[in-house]
């Protein structure tokens, strides 16, 4: 079997840090090769080297057994290497076709020949089973579909080697399945794929071989079929990882959050949540399960005050909070780990220190008579950052934007936990984190519960909801389908309910 890509003994340094130290990765023709590592292990750097964004200090790259120098991404493209970035690079108000031909527009005389391109895209779409409509606008299509446009871009440019940078981070479970189908189609058509990820389940499902790197060093390459997920996790983290969440049975106390037939409008100005009721007690984690966009955001935003309530009531510790300002809700004991850390969770241009006091900057000891106390803020932030192992270049003085996604997420979780809220709303708390961090966050959420606080967990990862929750409320199309005890249910039952099939005699 011949290799399409060989990266031999690659070393890449950045000032003060060795990002890749003697890493070797080989890609066979027609295989899906996973590149596994923790946040900041050096995966993206290694792929950046292959894609021509960085020049390695040492090491050889061979493409189809010929040694090459990849000086920039254009060279990589010419060699048939294409990359699907984690954050898509698409023009929102262009059509699919316009985005795909951007940079290599086909001409008919002096004018753009869109029709020809659109025809070819339609053919490719059919051939690979991508189901992309060449004429729809990017802003009108789903995230999963946008990703396919990115894939199509590479196919249109006749790439042979496709690199996927954490492709499933933004997708719903259903979209992930679709993506895997597409990847298998691509392999059948003779393409080769490298997938950067830290999700072991996906590697198990789709990859042939897996190269593991840890802290910039190559740990080894294994055949996925012959290796268990536990083994791969250990290679990645460097110690044994506990996948099962250890927790005692819950001892629910008084009701902290009570939602009573709540109706909320969504962004399209129609009811996205209808007559929804649920309660969360002290000492329990209630999970909300559902396919993305079935009312979860509306629930969370109504409780936190980011969205207006149409009808119904929200009670916190017996007091009505349906219409009070956001700040008062925070002060009366609501912590919120938001779904979108860049949009809501952080002021990216603020330092970490400032972000750590985003909700309490105006309270003593951080402020007195309207004046900020820098020293107190610094000390407070330092405590959180150490406690939650947030790694950054310059500690609390780092600008939040410069941190990796996982570290940003840990900082937000640390900030909310530090407020010690009676009700913690955690929305997708482990999105984009590696197994080590996930294990840690899960432990902290359970600890919070065991301290006698209430936790409302919203996650698209069914595993996470099933493992952490004591009770699970399932939503579909903005309505409560039912509430089940986590100990008495399983993936199938919840999955069915997520699809809208209600259960007889739910709790």
């Amino acid at each position: 079997m011949s290799y399409v890509v060989e990266m031999l003994n690659i070393r890449k340094e950045f000032p003060g840090i060795v990002a890749n130290d003697n890493i070797t990765l080989t890609l066979k023709k027609g295989e899906i090769h996973a590149l596994l590592g923790e946040n900041g292990a050096g995966k993206s750097t290694l792929m950046g080297v292959l894609f021509g964004m960085y020049q390695p200090e040492k090491g050889i790259i061979k493409i189809r057994e010929k040694e090459v120098k990849i000086t920039n991404p254009n060279v990589a493209n010419q060699l048939g290497i294409g990359m699907v970035h984690q954050h898509f690079k698409l023009v929102e108000n262009f059509t699919v076709t316009e985005n795909i031909i951007l940079g290599s527009e086909p001409l008919k005389g002096m004018v753009l020949d869109i029709d020809k391109a659109a025809k070819r895209i339609a053919e490719l779409s059919k051939h690979y089973g991508l189901n992309v409509d060449p004429h729809s606008k990017i802003e009108d299509i789903s995230v999963g579909m946008q990703q396919r446009v990115e894939i199509m871009k590479m196919l249109y440019r006749e790439a042979e080697v496709l690199i996927f940078d954490e492709p499933t981070a933004v997708l719903t479970p259903h979209e992930i399945e679709e993506l895997m189908k597409i990847m298998r189609n691509l392999i059948n058509e003779g393409k080769s794929i490298i997938i950067i990820t830290h999700k072991l389940k996906e590697i198990k499902a789709v990859a042939d071989r897996c190269t593991v790197i840890r802290r910039g060093k190559g740990i080894g390459t294994v055949n996925v079929k012959e290796t268990s997920t536990a083994q791969m996790a250990e290679m990645m983290v460097g110690r044994q990882v506990n996948f099962k969440v250890d927790k005692k049975a819950s001892t629910p106390g008084e009701v902290v959050l009570q939602i009573d037939s709540l109706s909320v409008k969504n962004n399209r100005k129609v009811l996205g949540l209808k007559n929804f009721s649920v309660e969360v007690r002290r000492g329990e984690i209630v999970g909300i399960a559902g396919v993305e966009g079935n009312g979860q955001s509306e629930i969370v935003e109504a409780i936190t005050g980011l969205r207006k309530v149409e009808s119904g009531k929200i009670l916190l510790k017996g007091k009505e909070i349906t219409n009070i300002p956001i700040r008062q809700r925070i002060e009366s004991g609501i912590g919120h780990i938001p779904e979108d850390r860049h949009r809501r969770g952080l002021v990216l241009d603020y330092t970490l220190e400032n972000n750590m006091v985003l909700e309490v900057y105006n309270k003593p000891p951080f402020a007195k008579a309207g004046l900020l106390n820098g020293a107190a803020i610094k000390k407070y932030a330092k405590g959180i950052l150490e406690n939650f192992d947030v790694r950054s270049g310059e500690g609390g003085a780092s600008i939040a934007r410069t941190l990796s996604g996982g570290n940003q997420q840990k900082a937000i979780i640390g900030r909310e936990m530090e407020l010690d809220p009676d009700l913690l709303i955690a929305v997708q708390p482990t999105r984009g984190l590696d197994v080590g961090s996930i294990e840690y966050i899960h432990k902290r959420l359970i600890e919070h519960r065991d301290k006698g606080k209430a936790v409302l967990l919203v996650s698209l990862e069914l595993d996470e909801v099933l493992q952490l929750s004591d009770r699970i409320a399932i939503v579909n199309n903005g309505e409560l389908i039912g509430t089940v005890n986590a100990s008495e249910t399983n993936e199938n039952e919840v999955g069915l309910m997520m699809a809208g099939v209600s259960k007889e005699g739910s709790v």
């Binding site: 840090i17 925070i330 949009r343 002021v347 241009d349 270049g393 410069t402 941190l403």
Partner: protein, 359 residues
């Protein structure tokens, strides 16, 4: 620090480009610049004039920079200056109070007038999401025509229809000891008020919870909202303060540098404030020095024109070029990065900072 370097490089590049232009029209750049700086700084009275020229620019620069920190683009400094100046002039012409009280009331009138003129666009932005660029420009013209109507109607000058009456000696910001100290220059108390404003605004932005909120709203209003800050209130408040600053600029211009108001003129200092804020990287101290530079260029240009055949428009050209460089500071940032990289490679690896997201 880095912003300062970028601004300085922009200025030097702008001056070099201006020199090339002088060469192009057949004059000696060295002579040209010598006269330009002599014109601005040659003697104590010229220095006074230069400082006075810079004073309204400090206010409008601060106004634009302050709004910008909250993510608002206040293009209406010119209109806010007019209304602030009109309010102060009206007070100065109408009331006969003891001088310190009169000055204080005039300043307050300027703050209220300018603040009101910016409050309206701020309210529209918060309540109806009307873009402040559009509404502040419209407010500029409303101010323009308001002055056009009010001045001849109520404060008509003795000889000219197009001018207000002159303020009495004791009703302006000019003060004998300052005029004497600067040997007859039109420098006035406005400069001191400008310096105080710089200090207060720097303090608000950097040290207070109000500044923390305003900046948070400017950087990311969704996160500010999430954290419980009142986004709309902050937008209105920011515009109000910005307008008050521009209004004070109007007071400095119409009751300090000048002693009457003319109709039919939208003060150029309003738009220059945008340039000053840009060059000063939106920091109050930066704004102060940028305004001084603009003052030098504006007030030296007449002397340069009188001494050699270089048209006074050249000063504007140089300012424009400096602004181009400041506005494209990304390029300068990149150049600096490249320079730093080659230097650190030569000294082996000694950089203390890791790459983004690593470490």
């Amino acid at each position: 620090m880095r912003n300062t370097i970028v601004s300085l490089i922009s200025i030097i590049l702008g001056l070099i480009a201006g020199g090339l232009l002088m060469l192009f029209i057949g004059a000696s750049p060295i002579e040209g610049y010598t006269y330009l700086f002599q014109g601005a700084l040659k003697n104590i009275s010229r220095i006074g004039d230069t400082l006075a020229t810079a004073t309204p620019l400090i206010f409008t620069g601060l106004a634009v920079a302050f709004a910008f920190r909250t993510g608002l683009f206040n293009i209406g400094a010119a209109g806010q200056m007019l209304i602030g100046g009109l309010a102060a002039t009206a007070v100065g012409l109408t009331f006969d109070l003891a001088r310190p009280i009169l000055i204080l009331v005039m300043l307050l009138a300027g703050i209220v007038g300018g603040g009101l003129w910016a409050f309206i666009p701020g309210y529209f932005k918060a309540r109806f999401n009307v873009h402040e660029v559009v509404s502040t420009i419209m407010m500029n013209w409303i101010a323009y025509w308001t002055v056009y109507y009010v001045v001849p109607g109520y404060f008509k000058g003795e000889f000219l229809e197009t001018e207000s009456r002159k303020l009495a000696e004791g009703s302006t910001l000019r003060t004998p000891w300052l005029t004497e100290m600067f040997q007859g220059s039109y420098i006035n108390l406005g400069l001191f008020f400008a310096v105080i404003a710089v200090i207060i605004i720097a303090f608000i932005i950097n040290k207070t919870t109000l500044g923390f909120e305003l900046k948070a709203v400017g950087f990311n209003r969704h996160a500010a909202e999430y954290a419980g800050m009142k986004v709309n209130r902050n937008i209105i408040l920011s515009m109000l303060i910005s307008g008050a600053l521009a209004g004070l600029g109007g007071v400095a211009l119409y009751t300090g540098n000048a002693s009457s108001m003319q109709i039919g003129i939208l003060p150029s200092q309003g738009y220059d404030g945008i340039a000053v804020a840009l060059l000063g990287a939106n920091s109050p101290v930066g704004v102060f020095f940028a305004a001084l530079l603009f003052g030098i260029l504006y007030s030296g240009t007449g002397f340069m024109n009188a001494m050699i055949e270089i048209p006074p428009e050249l000063a504007n050209t140089i300012i424009a070029i400096i602004i181009y460089f400041a506005a494209t500071s990304v390029m300068i940032h990149r150049l600096l990065n490249k320079f730093r990289k080659t230097r650190s490679n030569a000294n082996d690896v000694d950089g203390p900072v890791g790459k983004k997201g690593e470490a």
